[in-house]
């Protein structure tokens, strides 16, 4: 008999609201913390709370509650993010960090569709991110297209360049397939570094975004308070990330996601059931690259400047480690993982130098001791029926 009395929450809505409140408040404190001791104290608190919550099955309860009321959970998450953006409306640095986390999460959602759903390993995530950013730089500088269209076109450019790899990706498997994307990641970086048209090692400038005649690079005043221009970008990133998240979740729940899962777990079985293996791999690969490209496009506009050094092989590894750390295939796990991987080193200035070392070690430890990641992916539940007793 399946009895999960302690983890099935009685009032999912209340639990979700409480969880959102706690997490948002904690993030607010954490982003505010200036001194090293403060940050360390908060980290210790988070570690203890995380362990306790895991012990008390609190995390699981929240997860179940989120599954019961997905609409409410998303609305609360967006509200939490909006509250954070509002709270830090003056601080450029914090807002930039929020943007980076949201955009990396978007790119990693793409990788999740590829690697987590269909089993197509992509070791060149940063390269597709970079293609999006470079496409934006070139298009915005040389054409008068509306920027929203450029956003889509940049994603399409990433997907298009990625589709050059479709034949080798489809024909190879396992390690052989890994080589294809690794080679592509290195090729891309070398190419933009030696290519004078694209700025070479110095990189390119990207103009800021203009939406319906409104320049996002201008700050504005709202209710008498000066708002950093990054706030508009943070809202844009939030909209993008939320949209892609909803899309990926819907995909996962649909028959397409089911087909992709079967293709990943057992190609032979998938073929036996009449699934077109190549079709789903191509769909996942193109779609993932598109998401990474769009995220890279916005990232380029935010930073205003892109160089080959932003899109190296270690950056691709950073993205993959977010995907693995969050729990392979679990879209909701990406955000906490991205926060850990991207925000923590910014706050802990003394480990700034050691951050690649620490993250690499952390990912190794997770692969060794918790191979399913922090929030392992659960089997999808289509009908929320109470377990029969």
């Amino acid at each position: 008999m399946s009895r999960t009395p302690s983890s099935a929450p009685r009032r999912p809505g209340l639990l979700l609201a409480l969880a959102t409140l706690v997490v948002t408040f904690y993030l607010w404190l954490f982003l505010h913390a200036e001194t090293q001791t403060g940050v360390a104290l908060l980290l210790a608190l988070a570690l203890a709370a995380g362990l306790a919550a895991g012990r008390l099955r609190l995390v699981r309860s929240v997860e179940i509650a989120g599954n019961r009321r997905p609409g409410l959970a998303r609305a609360l998450a967006v509200a939490g993010a909006l509250a954070l953006i509002a709270a830090f409306h003056e601080s450029h640095f914090v807002l930039l960090m929020i943007c980076t986390v949201l955009l990396y999460t978007t790119a990693c959602l793409g990788l999740t569709v590829q690697f987590g759903f269909s089993g197509v390993a992509n070791f060149a995530g940063a390269a597709f991110f970079g293609i999006g950013a470079y496409a934006t730089a070139v298009l915005a500088a040389n054409t008068g297209l509306p920027h929203l269209l450029i956003l889509v076109l940049s994603g399409a450019a990433a997907a298009l360049v990625g589709s050059l790899l479709i034949t080798p990706v489809l024909r190879t498997r396992g390690h052989y397939a890994a080589l294809v994307t690794i080679a592509f990641g290195i090729l891309f970086r070398t190419f933009i570094e030696v290519n004078d048209v694209l700025g070479g090692p110095q990189g390119l400038q990207v103009p800021g975004m203009r939406l319906f005649g409104y320049e996002l690079n201008d700050g504005f005043t709202l209710f008498g308070a000066d708002v950093s221009f990054y706030a508009s970008y943070a809202l844009l990133s939030l909209a993008l990330c939320g949209g892609v998240f909803a899309l990926v979740k819907a995909l996962e729940r649909s028959w397409i996601g089911l087909a992709m899962d079967v293709v990943r777990t057992d190609e032979t079985a998938a073929a036996t059931f009449g699934l077109h293996i190549a079709r789903w791999k191509v769909v996942a690969f193109v779609m993932g690259n598109f998401f990474a490209g769009v995220a890279g496009s916005v990232y380029g506009m935010i930073t205003g400047f892109i160089a080959p050094n932003n899109f190296t092989f270690p950056d691709s590894l950073l993205m993959l480690s977010i995907v693995v750390l969050g729990g392979l295939g679990n879209a909701a796990g990406l955000l906490p993982a991205a926060v850990i991987v991207l925000v923590l080193p910014e706050k802990l200035q003394f480990i700034q130098e050691y951050r690649f070392l620490l993250y690499a070690a952390l990912v190794i430890a997770i692969l060794l001791f918790r191979p399913d990641g922090l929030l392992p992916r659960r089997t999808r539940v289509f009908f929320h029926r109470e377990p029969q007793r």
């Binding site: 080589l179 294809v180 690794i182 290195i186 690499a360």
Partner: protein, 309 residues
């Protein structure tokens, strides 16, 4: 003629180094069916161990280049042999049951750990280090083709190492054990072969080879850098895969093939398209690798694979 000879010689030189790295990949894949991606960074650690040893010997007041060279090679071999065995024992054997890409990712991350550790903890490790020139540097003139004797020695040493490892694998009891484990680990155990010992020895052997390649690389360019491992590792991996994983000859073939592509890229591209920078050689080489993978998805000398359902 002499220009062509020069290109050929450069290609051979690079090919030997790449082949030595690729043989390591193929050995590991043979015994455990895993890719150890930290291989390139183990190579770099070996080169740095050699550098440290040469500085230490110099500090002791020994001026003889031969003694220094011996110290460099021994230090590089010991450090990486031990490192390779440790990696196998504590990272790769525990991950045997995990999906292959988890192992790949874990070892990629280990490579990052090694790279960052050298960058941060080796004194002034983030800057390129001069590698002492320990080989006689006379110039040989062969009918318009001038060869540096140190390059020639490195080339011969590389070929000798590859031939030596080949003989070790095909002619000795240890080699027989390695081949047995590669064919079927379970059956090898039944035949009384100490599986763990063979795996650890294989990893030590492959890592030692990588260290020699790293030292040769340092002697050739007279400079080492904390991030040489990444590119050399990727190239070695590409070479091993191009040739076909698990196949010793494939790895050697792949190494020379990749070097050939690079040399072709730097020699032929400027001839075809004027004023194209020679830095495009890597772009060219990796592009050809991707095309070759599309053509021969399991390498030029394909491993025999069949799937039991």
């Amino acid at each position: 003629m002499s220009v062509l000879g020069q290109y050929l010689f450069n290609g051979l030189m690079l090919g030997v180094i790449y082949a030595m790295v690729a043989v390591g990949f193929t050995l590991f894949f043979g015994v455990l069916d895993v890719i150890k991606f930290s291989h390139g960074d183990v190579l770099m650690v070996g080169a740095f161990a050699g550098l440290a040893a040469s500085l230490g010997v110099m500090h002791l007041g020994v001026e003889s280049a031969a003694v220094q060279l011996l110290a460099v090679v021994l230090a590089a071999l010991c450090v990486t042999g031990l490192l390779g065995a440790l990696i196998a024992r504590f990272l790769i054997l525990p991950l045997r049951k995990a999906p292959p890409l988890n192992t790949l990712l874990a070892t990629l991350m280990l490579g990052t750990v090694l790279r960052e550790a050298v960058r941060l903890f080796y004194p002034d490790g983030s800057n390129p280090k001069p590698f002492p020139a320990l080989l006689p540097s006379a110039t040989l003139d062969l009918g318009g083709l001038s060869l540096r004797s140190d390059s020639l020695i490195i080339l011969c040493a590389g070929v000798a190492v590859i031939v030596g490892v080949h003989l070790l694998i095909t002619r000795t009891r240890l080699g027989m054990a390695i081949r047995a484990v590669a064919q079927d680990g379970e059956t090898a155990r039944l035949m009384g072969i100490n599986f763990d010992a063979v795996v650890l020895l294989t990893f030590a052997l492959g890592s030692g080879m990588a260290a020699l390649a790293g030292v040769m690389n340092g002697l050739y360019y007279n400079e080492i850098n904390f991030n040489i491992g990444l590119l050399l590792g990727v190239i070695g991996f590409a070479a091993a895969i191009l040739g076909g994983l698990g196949n010793l000859y494939g790895a050697i073939l792949g190494g020379f093939l990749f070097a050939g592509l690079q040399v072709l890229g730097s020699a032929a591209l400027p001839a075809l398209i004027p004023d194209i920078p020679s830095a495009y050689r890597d772009v060219f080489a990796f592009a050809v690798v991707i095309v070759l993978m599309a053509w021969k998805p399991t390498g030029l000398i394909a491993e025999k694979s069949s799937e039991r359902v």
